[in-house]
């Protein structure tokens, strides 16, 4: 019987450096499982969307393949073969997805896998909505470069979205909900015409309070996003490069 697991914000891996890769190679099965959960949180949406677009699969097929991919990652211990000296983890996982989908095309074993593998409770409906309610322009990401860019962008989106969920929880815990609301209003939902002055009027607070609140939230967002990034990088060098990717800094 499938064992459903909820991938939630509080199921994060302990914040030790490079822990996800080290844990994925641990002899302890529970450690490996937690490493997979952490990776799954960051990567399931990019993987799902990538399968939908790159392999032109129906939502049902893509859901099945996404579940199957993460199950196979655990069963076949794919992370043990990852060599940080050769590629980024993100690139390695994308190539693993390609290989997995191609192998699934050859084998008619999906039913079997579906019957045996554990299932993760993933919000495929939400992911599908993000894809534009099924409106897919596969031609727009036809080249290998644009596929890489697409996967990268979705990965950043997923990483930031997770960080924002953590940030929301932190703001509530520190009783700084208003700071988070300002952040939502200005950075997440605001348009280019929204000003600090307008926000100050809307919330009936001084402009300096808006400035200070946004400075705090952005600082915490940055810290949380980088913490999450650290968890899924295998080395200082990879962390540095992925930071540049995520935050748009130039690579050198």
């Amino acid at each position: 019987m499938p064992q459903d697991e909820i991938i939630a914000g509080d199921a994060r891996f302990p914040a030790t450096r490079w822990s996800v890769i080290e844990a994925s190679r641990s002899a302890d099965g529970a450690e490996r499982q937690r490493a997979l959960e952490t990776l799954c949180q960051a990567y399931w949406k990019p993987v799902y969307k990538y399968v939908r677009l790159r392999w032109n699969r129906t939502p049902e097929d893509a859901q099945d393949l996404t579940q199957g991919f993460f199950a196979e990652m655990l069963e076949r211990e794919l992370l043990k073969r990852f060599d940080s000296g050769k590629s980024r983890l993100r690139t390695y996982l994308r190539l693993c997805v390609d290989s997995f989908v191609m192998n699934q095309d050859k084998a008619a074993s999906r039913q079997k896998r579906g019957g045996e593998a554990q299932h993760l409770a993933l919000d495929f409906h939400g992911a599908e909505e993000e894809l534009g309610n099924g409106t897919i322009d596969a031609a727009a990401i036809a080249s290998p470069e644009s596929l890489e860019e697409f996967f990268e962008k979705e990965w950043v989106r997923s990483l930031f979205a997770l960080a924002i969920e953590d940030l929301r929880a932190l703001s509530a815990e520190r009783k700084r909900d208003q700071a988070f609301q300002l952040f939502e209003a200005y950075d997440l939902d605001g348009d280019d015409h929204t000003s600090y002055q307008q926000l100050a009027q809307r919330y009936a607070i001084p402009v300096t309070d808006v400035t200070n609140a946004l400075a705090w939230v952005r600082r915490e967002f940055r810290r949380i996003a980088l913490e999450r990034l650290r968890e899924i990088c295998s080395s200082d060098e990879e962390f540095r490069r992925e930071t540049k990717t995520a935050f748009g800094w130039d690579a050198h």
């Binding site: 979205a161 997440l188 940055r222 980088l226 962390f239 800094w249 050198h252």
Partner: protein, 334 residues
């Protein structure tokens, strides 16, 4: 989970990049440049009411290789108090966890841009001599720059020449400066240099700028680098200064002597290069004074031509005097 639009993604990136100067005496004015490991911002020091440049690490964390490198760069700059080296004012960690240091804000142009407005060769050579002064000073303090190139030299609005970006600097032996700090500073730096050295070789990644790096630096021979590695880079920089002028080509004795200096500075084998920056600078000074340069053996005709060029006024004066004497003798003879 929150769905983020492309616009929100862009805003989050931009917002997260801006350094958080809360709790410091600095007020952000704008971004100036982006370097290998940090971003340089213009800021106002509100206590002293002056403009400074803040070099801020891209990645938060006071630990780690990049933070160490930035701190090390600040300490190297603090050690090198020289008019040709940008002075550092402050170092610390921002509220967002990023390491930074504050330095003098240099208003001017990078050498590669500035040189486009400087045409005469002697003027270019005098700029080069000032770069040599700063590098020779650093060498005397036991510091190699390791990334000398036009983009790392600034020429200020009053003509001051400053060697910038000491992020790849290597600390050699204990400094010869008698005023150097007496605490165990060199040992700290040597320990960090070990980190820097491993940086160069760990990932098969060589640090420096292709085209300006010495062959030994390009091979990653970190331990064996000495002043002659910087001399190679200075030689390439000199060649840039002399050739970065498409409309004019040097020729004759001028070209050959300066070319010989470039060739000697950029020799593949470091034993064939100038042993010190002072030797290189001395050859350039001799050239500017119209003297023979050590790097080039002149023919007798070239020596005469140089002699003529240097003492042209006196030679012409004597020649005129002799001519007048001859004419007078001939006149009276008739």
């Amino acid at each position: 989970m929150e769905h983020l639009s492309d616009r929100a993604l862009a805003r989050l990136r931009n917002g997260a990049e801006i350094p958080d100067l809360t709790g410091t005496r600095y007020r952000l004015l704008g971004q100036v440049a982006r370097g290998g490991m940090g971003i340089v911002y213009a800021a106002e020091d509100q206590d002293l009411q002056r403009r400074v440049a803040l070099k801020v690490l891209e990645v938060p964390g006071a630990q780690g290789e990049l933070a160490n490198r930035l701190l090390r760069e600040a300490r190297v700059l603090a050690r090198l108090e020289h008019p040709g080296i940008v002075p550092v004012h402050d170092v610390g960690t921002l509220a967002d966890g990023r390491v930074f240091y504050a330095m003098k804000f240099v208003e001017g142009q990078q050498l590669d841009k500035y040189i486009e407005s400087v045409t005469p060769t002697p003027d270019r050579l005098r700029i080069f001599l000032r770069i040599c002064d700063a590098v020779a000073f650093a060498h005397a303090r036991g510091v190699l720059h390791r990334d000398l190139k036009p983009a790392n030299v600034m020429v200020g609005s009053f003509g001051e020449v400053l060697v910038m970006d000491w992020g790849l600097a290597k600390i050699l032996a204990a400094p010869s400066d008698p005023d150097a700090p007496t605490r165990d500073f060199s040992s700290i730096d040597r320990a960090k240099e070990t980190d820097g050295a491993s940086l160069v070789t760990d990932h098969g990644r060589v640090m420096g700028t292709p085209g300006y790096m010495s062959p030994e630096q390009a091979r990653g021979e970190v331990e064996g680098l000495d002043a002659r590695s910087d001399i190679f880079s200075l030689g390439v920089l000199l060649r840039f200064l002399l050739s970065h002028r498409p409309s004019e080509r040097s020729s004759g004795r001028t070209g050959r002597a300066l070319e010989a200096i470039c060739v000697k500075a950029c020799a593949q084998g470091r034993e064939d290069r100038y042993a010190t920056v002072q030797e290189l600078a001395a050859d350039i000074s001799r050239y500017l004074d119209g003297l023979a340069v050590a790097a080039y053996r002149e023919s007798i005709f070239e020596r005469l031509a140089r002699f003529y060029g240097r003492y042209r006024f006196f030679i012409l004066l004597i020649a005129a005097y002799l001519l007048v004497r001859v004419l007078l003798v001939l006149f009276y003879h008739h």
